[in-house]
Amino acid sequence: MTYRKTDVLTAACRALAGETISVLGRARRSLAIFGVSVLLVAFLLASPVVLGEYAQQILSQAFLFAIAAVTVDLLWGYTGILTFGQSAFFGIGVYTVAIALAYYVDGTLATAGAIFAAMVGAALAGAAIGWLSFWDRASPIYVAIVTLALPVVFTQIILSGGAYTGSSSGLPIPAPFLSITQWYYIAGGLLLVVTIGAYVFVSSDAGRVMVAIRENEERCRYLGLNTSRFKIRLMAACSAVAAMAGGFYVLFSSVAAHSYGDFVFGTELVVWTALGGRGTLVGPIFGTVGVNYVSAVLGGNLPFIWLLFVGFAFVLSVVYLPQGLVPAIGYGLSASARSIGRLLRQRPETAVAGWRLEPWAAEVPTVVRSGAGVPRQNGVIGATEEVPALEMQDVGMQYGSLVALRGVTLTACRGEVVGIIGPNGAGKTTLLRCIADGRERSAGEVLVNGHSIGRLPPQGCVALGVSRKFQTPNVFDALTVLDCLCVARSYRQPVSAWRRSRTVELPEPALHAVEVSGLMSMLNEQAGHLSHGAKQALELAMVLAQEPTVLLLDEPTAGLTLDERVAIGTVLTELAHGHRLCILLIEHDLDFVRNISTRLVVLHRGEIRLDGPLSETADSELIRSIYVGAAK
């Protein structure tokens, strides 16, 4: 099935404009990154002029800790994985390099090799932890538990190692002799490289997916994204970077101590990140450097008071400034800049969306253009019309002793709009869940385009052609409309970890939904700020961007005005008849169902009580009696 835009000329113009702007935009992004890096390098090289040796030493240590804090931020601030375990990966770096240098090798090349080995080892450990933590139905608390257990296990292993690991007294190593300023350059340079790399990453398409996972992981899965795999890879990468920082740290301090891999250090990394500002890159760096610098400068009994102060500051920031200090300061500055700008009757250069400094969020020029659908990987789209789009055979669903569905057998073809009606608790939503998630049903078989969904998770069902729209609007609140659409498309195009696309190719039906609902003029709006109706339309467009053959809609008109209902009704009719989609629709509004359905299915107490063309069923006595409550 290919979608053809009638107005070819318009499409071509749009595409051309899109390309031009995106080339310019891309160049601007790399230019800015390059410019900022040059500035920072110059700053780093020049700073020893004013900094004393002691300050340089403290800062070198803080810079290496900050690298670990940045990895905490990537996992927690951006992706929503609260981790107390980055210290263990830092510790893996510390001890791999320390043991290698203390017993086995020496020389620069061998040291580099040891650091590399530490990174590989930490990446493997990180992947293993990810595999353990991110199974599909894991609670977010479980990750916190596993990452909390990890440093405990690590410390115990080190402590039990006796003389080999130095146990509790630490393992001294023959460290390379470098001056303090050299170390300062190395640590600062590493932090710079990691930060710029992290910036490129979070402002890329993959960075967008990270935020989407943080905002609403379930929606991501139902958009066909394998979020578990994504998080495991991210965990592995962050672990490797933390291990690298640890490896350099032990070379710098020349003693490996178990406290660099323990639970307390892991929580400290989280505290610094939270204080500075999670979800920003400068936040954790300022938090780490600030806290470490001050505690090193203070002497005598003051460090304990300082830690007490940090504790108070941390609690206060969690309660009153959950986004941390740096975004709050940034927000204050931009607010004052805006008011000054207003005074001068000029538009401010940058606009900060909300409290979060999302890179490039506000200034990216964007065009949505229609694209002919990318061919499906598994060829399901070419399935002949003879195969029914959806077949359910004797599907049952039980929660404990409660039977939610019993013996449901249903066949639906392309071009049909099947209205599913029934009183509350009849099993309507459960029915949709059993189609969109192979692990839900307790009995029976579901075939989509002739392929059994088996026990596939939601993302597997999406690949077969099923898309589900939730009952309440389910979008990514922190992302812009355009970003939401990009994420919705990203399971079709490989997600780049460094490029940021400024255009999104939408199939014709999704583009149509965007245009009809007026979202085209709101592409840079944050999705969380949209009206209820606009959110519903956005989610519909996101779901249609999957190019489904079976579309599951759970009360798509709930909470909409009459006009919006009529608009959605026309879109749905067009989808079924023009684009030959098979639509299953749950609805309480019987008039709406009568207007757009071709067929009615009545569910009552988990069983199908009536199934037939609209003309035969619409006025059935049964519907009236079930809704009034007279049915047995």
């Binding site: 353990l132 505290v271 609690v315």
Partner: protein
């Protein structure tokens, strides 16, 4: 010989049960993970140190600990946690912040070095042909009494029934006119008080320093998550995981033994969904 191990298993389970009880109460009713639990344990232990300094009867430490725990818990709930119930993941952070504040305050006053506290019972008794620490047996009894008390409070008293209503359906409880705010306040105070009491009770078994709570916190946390929200399950989890810890430590490697609870809990939770 096996009798000693049997005693070790059940008394270890008793100790773990005492330590985890306050955490379970807070997690069950408030649905928050109280990472300051370890700091409350430390508060209780230092109450015993103070009792020793003042030359009071060692048993008075229990009363001091309970009072201090409830008081600090009340301030913490009133000033901090009350604002965070809508952001559950942030309560983990805030309670860790509380932990830092309490531990650093203790460090400022007492210093980092290990403190001495008078024990309440030092003698050993002869039971079933072996000589065994009387205190550990008393702790077992205390665990049973505390567990029964909490169970009775939850089952038989008005506040317990109200608290259980809040656990089951908070919105409904609120709609029925239950002051959920008060329920939370009382629960957190009780949880903190129980933690502090547990700290005083385990003082003779540990060396008293400001960070003594961390290993206990982690083990208690694992037990509570494994047991869901039930007192009976907690006893079972303490018995099985604590027992495994004792057996691994005595027949295998003590380091592996100290990791047994954590590793087993992570594995159990992988296959058993966490009620949230």
């Amino acid at each position: 010989m096996y009798t000693i191990q049997l005693f070790d298993v059940i008394t270890t389970a008793g100790v773990l049960y005492i330590v985890a009880l306050g955490l379970l109460l807070v997690y069950g009713v408030l649905k928050i993970i109280n990472l300051a639990h370890g700091a409350f344990l430390a508060l209780g232990s230092y109450a015993a140190v103070i009792a020793t300094w003042l030359g009071w009867n060692p048993w008075s430490a229990l009363v001091i600990a309970l009072a201090v725990g409830i008081a600090v818990g009340a301030v913490a709930e009133w000033r901090v946690l009350r604002r965070l119930y809508v952001r559950p993941l942030d309560t983990i952070l805030a309670t860790w912040g509380l932990n830092i504040i309490i531990v650093q305050s203790i460090t400022l006053y007492f210093g980092r070095e290990i403190q001495f506290a008078e024990s309440t019972i030092t003698q050993a008794v002869n039971v079933g042909g072996v000589t065994y620490s009387l205190y550990r047996l008393v702790l077992l009894l205390v665990a049973v009494v505390l567990g029964t008390l909490v169970w009775l409070v939850m089952r038989r008293t008005q506040i317990g029934i109200v608290a259980r209503a809040v656990i089951m359906n908070e919105e409904l409880a609120e709609a029925l006119g239950i002051n959920t705010r008060l329920v939370r306040f009382v629960t957190f105070c009780l949880g903190a008080g129980l933690a502090s009491l547990a700290g005083a009770l385990i003082t003779p078994l540990v060396s008293v320093h400001p960070n003594l709570g961390v290993p206990w916190l982690i083990n208690a946390f694992m037990l509570v998550l494994v047991s869901g929200m039930s007192l009976g399950n907690l006893a079972l989890a303490a018995l099985i995981l604590g027992g495994a810890q004792v057996l691994v430590s005595s027949y295998g490697n003590p380091v592996l033994g100290s990791l047994t609870i954590v590793i087993l809990a992570v594995i159990i939770l992988r296959f058993r969904t966490i009620p949230t």
